[in-house]
Symmetry: C2
Subunit: 331 residues, 2 copies
């Protein structure tokens, strides 16, 4: 039998298992031009929370009683599409289904001999690309500058810090446990770490960790940590707005100090983006990431959860920071 | 006798005449290398409110019991500096004094035959330059885009709108009276105007005036008008943070909806700046502004207040929007 996971109800606040429904569906058969895909690895990402809201955004919201989608690595188990053959592995934006058909458009082949399959959802996939374009295209780091990263032990943050080190910056990471801070410093080569759960005033903690001020703040969390970072930014600083996980589950419009006066006073830039904004550059960026990976200039952590049935829980756990590095589900 | 205006106390909230003190001082004499300057026109600008706070910023705060400074056009009435001769007119950041000496550094000569003296404080001075660099360097307008400007009938806003028209954009201005809206449309060539004092919901008013959404929002006011603009921004929109006059007199940290989620969702840029960030380009920008002025592609309004004694009141009146275009005091 085949299985899928549907959006049963839109989460209010933090998503719960009740928001998801498992359904048994028929195993599809391939028509001409199609491939039959068997799901191997499923990416769970904070941004999916946004698609669960019935709101206009850069991507259509998920529909109720329809399958949820995310980045998936799948094996081609049958093909009537000349571009793919049985045994190929592909990366695509696919339904949360064990087996599905696809017309092949937008699927990328991935090479298991060059990197583990799951890496194509992480460091060599959208998360690695997100870190790359956010830091380099928006942050524009210069040697010797100070880069502050929140969500630093997460999928994107851990790559941002390492690329910033490659570019000769001082790198300070913010995360939520001593274990994660150790990971930042020992595995990812961050210069300093701030455990926000052990800090009374983030503004002061950042000041101590960044005595020369912050030139680039790569923000994955939003909210009060963003405010504290802004207070420590140097003139001409750049805030890279990659995500705001601290706000995604809010049911009311979150409020905070107005930032416009700080932007003017310090000639600051704040800029949001998604990786797809730089789609035309992907074919240059992925080989660069792969090359750094091969030369051990980049490393990565994964939190791999087993079984298709655990996809919703893995997604929910993102909001408690239960992942280190990229969270993926192995089916 | 000579006169100066000192900062007597730091304003709490909106500045009042009590915050200023007039003092009689000696008429200075020139030493070698100096010029003796007689004040002709004094610029009053919203940003001066920021310098009245005892806070670190891009420029030193004014000191208590010391003269206030702003952009001033003065006549050289005696010179022991070879770069200047009696009868020259100069533009510089000078003390609020009727007569003062200066070493000449940073003073620019202005040519009364090319434009009225007061224009060098406005359209050909920092306000014109501010409009130019903010719109063109940060906003990067493309033909056919929609540009929304707040404080649109003010010194900077009125120039922003006109340059946006030169660049082939649709231009919508926000101001606080029907008289100002008429000025925007009849004199400055804006396509549409929104009187925020006659509008219940700015978000809806902007939507109606900008049916294709907003590509560039040039913000002189901050606060709720900024929020309403953000809600109407198109993907890849640019917010040019030039000022936040609605917040300058707040005594508590102003709060508002958090914007970071919108920045990410719509790949928006918000960027603060001051004209001086582009100082190296001034010698190209001013001739461009002068050329547009000569060709009647640009026009300007001034609110000219008479008498040195009225400088503080003219400054205070900025916060009630009593000026149309650039506010200057003729001494």
């Amino acid at each position: 039998m085949n299985k899928t996971i549907l959006l049963k109800s839109r989460p209010e606040g933090t998503p719960t298992l009740d928001n998801f429904e498992f359904a048994e569906i028929d195993k599809p058969t391939v028509s001409e031009g199609q491939v039959l895909l068997k799901t191997k690895y499923v990416s769970v990402d904070p941004y999916l929370r946004g698609r669960m809201r019935d709101e206009k955004s850069y991507i259509e919201p998920f529909q109720l009683d329809e399958p949820i989608q995310s980045g998936i690595i799948a094996e081609v188990v049958a093909s009537e599409n000349p571009d793919f053959k049985t045994g190929d592995y592909i990366n695509g934006m696919l339904d949360w289904k064990k087996i599905q058909t696809h017309n092949g458009k937008g699927l990328q082949k991935v090479d298991q001999s060059k990197a583990p399959l799951s890496a194509y959802l992480g460091i060599l996939g959208l998360t690695g690309i997100t870190a790359y374009v956010g830091l380099l295209k928006i942050g524009e780091p210069k040697e010797g500058e100070t880069v502050l990263v929140s969500g630093a032990s997460g999928a994107v943050g851990s790559v941002v810090g390492q690329i910033a080190k490659i570019k000769g910056c001082k790198v300070v990471g913010i995360a939520g446990s001593d274990e994660k801070i150790n990971l930042l410093q020992d595995t990812f080569g961050f210069d300093e770490g701030i455990n926000y759960n052990k800090t009374n005033t983030m503004q002061k903690a950042i000041k101590e960790a960044c005595p020369n001020g912050v030139d680039i703040y790569f923000d994955n969390v939003g909210g009060e940590i963003l405010d504290a970072a802004i207070a420590n930014m140097n003139r001409f600083g750049r805030v890279v707005n990659c995500g705001a996980i601290s706000l995604y589950n809010e049911t009311e419009q979150p409020t905070g100090p107005r930032l416009e006066t700080s932007l003017v006073k310090k000639s600051l830039k704040m800029q949001g983006f998604i990786a797809r904004d730089y789609q035309d550059d992907f074919n240059k960026i992925v080989p660069q990431l792969a090359s750094w990976l091969q030369k051990d200039k980049l490393t990565y952590e994964e939190t791999i959860v087993d079984r298709f049935e655990n996809i919703p829980q893995a997604f929910i756990d993102l909001f408690d920071g239960k992942n280190k590095g990229k969270m993926v589900v192995k089916v």
